[in-house]
């Protein structure tokens, strides 16, 4: 009865409480989106920002699609995401298995390993620029200490291992970024996000009931059999959610690339390319067209992620 009395009041209040947020979200997300859509259909360059914008239809989109640098950046982005996620998942999973035990040392490690993921991304980029420099970089010092030749990490020289590959070597270098500069980007992202992947796997591993593992042990399952037949299937949802989260985050990467290479055309990821079209070339129409395309692609992926989060909420 009491609840019934409260209901009309609540109904009004509940909308009053969300309205400001919805209004602000409309202003900072939906309105800019519509604005971008409008810009993408007009010729908007540095000269005419404040004056008339001539209508050009889909010309900006056609220009974007026929832009070779864009396709290179696109391919580089896809390749970047595929490689870093694969490595981070495998490495993170292995580290989580090893660290899945309680001790003070482990707790200390967990505290320490959150640092790479919260540190300012631009600082990460600049820090690695110093670490990877040819002379006097810590990484090359270490390589030299081990008696190997220092590597030109920050240049676009081909990586011999791939370049010398029979038949496809040249293709790998020309089209698939088998270059040191790209390798450095991959290494940095792996450095920054493997601890994150590992810590998520770790928390999922700890939620597997002890009885399940004990039962497997009683049945005589070896450690690797336990991992393969019990732990991996149970971690499948975790794996998919990490995959989606990392994809979404990797699509946002800008700061580290820009800190390392500026807007050099042969190192660009898509975001750097958007920035370059917009702020350097001041071709806002074309930049807007590319933004719309990126937005469509990422919203498909985030819808997929949202569905998973939703299922998790339902299961609870």
């Amino acid at each position: 009865m009491k609840k019934m009395n409260h209901k009309p009041v609540q109904l009004k209040d509940k909308y009053k409480m969300v309205l400001p947020s919805i209004a602000v979200l409309l202003i900072v997300t939906l309105f800019p989106f519509l604005y971008t859509l409008n810009v993408s259909l007009h010729k908007v360059v540095g000269r005419n920002i404040r004056t008339e914008w001539p209508w050009v239809g889909l010309r900006n989109f056609i220009n974007v699609i026929s832009d070779k640098i864009m396709w290179n950046a696109f391919l580089r982005t896809v390749e970047f995401i595929a490689i870093v996620i694969l490595v981070e998942l495998v490495l993170g999973f292995m580290l989580a298995l090893i660290f899945n035990q309680e001790s003070i040392l482990m707790r200390l490690m967990r505290t320490i390993l959150i640092i790479p993921m919260v540190i300012t991304p631009v600082v990460v980029g600049l820090m690695w620029k110093a670490l990877l420099k040819l002379d006097g970089g810590l990484v090359n010092d270490l390589i030299g200490f081990l008696g190997l030749t220092p590597l030109p990490w920050l240049t676009s020289q081909p990586i011999p291992l791939f370049a010398n590959f029979p038949i496809i070597g040249n293709f790998l270098v020309q089209h698939l970024n088998a270059k040191y500069s790209f390798l450095s980007l991959v290494v940095i992202d792996i450095w920054q996000w493997t601890p994150f992947v590992m810590l998520i796997f770790l928390s999922s591993l700890q939620s597997i009931p002890q009885e399940v593992k004990e039962a497997a042990q009683v049945d005589g399952a070896k450690y690797w059999q336990q991992v393969w037949f019990i732990i991996m299937p149970m971690l499948k949802p975790t794996l998919i959610v990490i995959f989606l989260l990392r994809t979404i985050d990797a699509l946002k990467v800008f700061d580290t690339v820009y800190a390392l290479y500026g807007s050099a055309a042969d190192q660009r990821l898509l975001n750097v390319h958007v920035m370059n079209i917009a702020l350097r070339l001041r071709n806002y129409g074309q930049g807007a067209a590319l933004s719309i395309l990126i937005l469509i692609a990422t919203s498909l992926i985030s819808q997929w992620f949202v569905k998973f989060v939703n299922q998790g909420a339902v299961n609870e």
Binding site: V39, I115, V123, A130, S302
Partner: protein, 275 residues
């Protein structure tokens, strides 16, 4: 007995070595950065650190850039954006948590707006802000930071408010408290630790933000701290010393904040999909 203990100890050795290796890979670079900021540029360029520490780099950062202004801009932007996100986000989160307002549709919209790459908003923000004359001001930056801040605040607060049992609120209502009183005297104090952690995380994200800071500030008027470090990197030369010092100035506050909320960082970065 003794043998078994020894065996157990030996079994631990590889794990211990691995810990050292991991520590080396993930922490040495950061220690190196901070330690290096007290070395001369030449020492960093040659990676030939001496035991003599100097504050020259920090001095140079303060002399050659308006780092103090940037610092203040950073604090203004991060704290204002966080404050407004919390002010309008927490009531929305409460409404969504208690009455499922807007249903899944609203929740999806909020979550996916958080997932958007910021690069896609630089063009509309730049053009819109130019037209209304707030490009290159902290106001513009604060609005831009709401794109990720508000969605984050609503989404995370919702989780923490859900954890407060409804029975306690019912009890307060029976005692004659109205909605406002229930919210401010019962629910928010109970959800406070989580809400504060969310606000600190939001502060960290704002502090770290680079793309908007970089694309929406034309002069030094509205630049935030992450821009400073890049000033010492030009195509002619890189001044390692001051760059390291600038990096240190940016990083140290973050490290302190991060340690305060370390338990919540995974939850924050995964939007509550994991804790």
């Amino acid at each position: 007995m003794n043998n078994r203990q020894l065996l157990r100890f030996i079994k631990k050795v590889p794990l211990f070595l691995l810990c050292i290796l991991i520590f080396f890979i993930w922490i040495t670079p950061i220690i190196w950065l901070i330690y290096g900021s007290f070395q001369s540029t030449d020492a960093i360029a040659q990676s030939n650190f001496s035991s003599e520490l100097t504050l020259d780099n920090y001095k140079e950062v303060f002399e050659r850039t308006n780092v103090l202004d940037f610092f203040i801009n950073s604090i203004i932007v991060a704290s204002t954006a966080t404050f407004f996100s919390a002010l309008i986000g927490i009531p929305a989160a409460y409404s969504m948590a208690r009455w499922n307002t807007g249903g899944m549709g609203l929740a999806f919209w909020i979550l996916s707006s958080r997932m958007m790459p910021p690069a896609v908003s630089i063009i509309p923000f730049f053009l819109m802000f130019t037209k209304i004359g707030i490009v290159d001001t902290v106001y513009g930056l604060i609005i831009a930071h709401l794109t990720f801040g508000l969605a984050f605040m609503i989404w995370m607060s919702r989780v923490f408010i859900c954890e407060v049992p409804t029975e306690i609120e019912e009890a307060a209502k029976i005692d004659g408290a109205n909605l406002w009183q229930t919210l401010t005297r019962v629910t928010l104090p109970l959800a406070k630790p989580g809400l504060i952690a969310t606000m600190i995380l939001n502060l960290i994200f704002s502090w770290n933000e680079y793309l908007f800071a970089f694309s929406l500030s034309l002069t030094e008027k509205s630049r935030t701290l992450p821009i400073v470090a890049g000033i010492f990197v030009t195509s002619y030369q890189i001044k390692w010393g001051p760059m390291f010092a600038a990096a240190g100035i940016i990083t140290i506050p973050i490290l302190i904040l991060a340690l305060l909320v370390q338990r919540h960082i995974i939850g924050g970065l995964t939007m509550g999909a994991f804790k």
